[in-house]
């Protein structure tokens, strides 16, 4: 469940949004993506890791190279804004369930 929340943290960062934009038209290697930024390579790697963990990017082995491509389906679920609303209710209902499981009947 934590992963779902992270999707929104992921797209809140401008560098990560720029990375997503880069891979909308083609899949790219980490090196090709990093070449578009002034930031240090490990920083870009960290961003790629976050985007992969929350499933906005998928990795694909092509020969000796790993290509990153956009998981459009996942991005769509973010774009339609319903997920945070669902998450809010899910959190509430999880709380309800936990509280009521502790309820001790009086009889």
């Amino acid at each position: 469940m934590k992963v779902r929340r992270d999707v929104f943290q992921a797209i809140a960062d401008p560098t990560r949004r720029a990375i997503l934009l880069l891979v909308t038209t083609q899949s790219l290697t980490a090196g090709a993506i990093a070449a578009n930024f002034d930031t240090a390579r490990p920083t870009v790697s960290k961003h790629l890791q976050i985007l992969t963990e929350c499933e906005l990017l998928s990795q694909e082995q092509q020969g000796r190279e790993i290509h990153y491509h956009l998981n459009a389906q996942k991005l769509k679920s973010v774009a339609d804004f319903i997920e945070p609303f669902r998450q809010m209710w899910d959190d509430r209902f999880n709380r309800l369930e936990a509280i009521m499981k502790n309820h001790q009947p009086n009889q």
Partner: protein, 154 residues
């Protein structure tokens, strides 16, 4: 993995349905809506009034993490224990909405809640759907602001 809470919200409609399955007998699920002390706990709100009967009213007051107070209120139209609640719901700044809550027993230890919500317009529904997203960004912004402020005082 199947999600426990599902939202059915079709484009261009002014209603939506929230469905959730619980590992609870329906009586306990219903109790979470009936007893003010439980409502306060899981909704994270203060219950000022809760009259569980037709023509009854309810008023909640919630303080968000930023310290802002929000008032919610409505009227109860139908109240059938362990089966259904029909009510209006209004939060400050938005028109009233109509809510049909249906509680179903799935087994001795499992139950389901279906919440059908009707909004005044498609636009209002979409605005309310986007609220948690906007609040999430706001909260992130506020945390950043707080972090910066604490740096200034060093």
């Amino acid at each position: 993995m199947e999600l426990k809470t599902k939202i059915h919200a079709e484009d261009g409609r002014q209603d939506l349905i929230i469905v959730r399955k619980f590992d609870l007998p329906v009586s306990l699920l219903f109790m979470a809506y009936e007893k003010p002390e439980y409502v306060e706990q899981w909704m994270g709100t203060k219950v000022l009034k809760l009259e569980n009967k037709a023509h009854g009213g309810y008023r909640f007051k919630t303080t968000d993490p930023m310290g802002n107070k929000h008032n919610f209120h409505g009227t109860i139209h139908e109240f059938v224990p362990n089966q259904k609640i029909t009510r209006t719901f209004e939060m400050a700044g938005f028109p009233a909405q109509l809510e049909f809550l249906e509680f179903t027993s799935e087994s001795a230890k499992k139950s389901k809640l279906s919440m059908h919500i009707l909004y005044r317009s498609v636009e209002i529904r979409d605005q309310i759907l986007q609220l948690p997203f906007a609040q999430g960004l706001n909260m992130a912004h506020n945390r950043l602001q707080n972090a910066l402020n604490s740096l200034k005082t060093l």
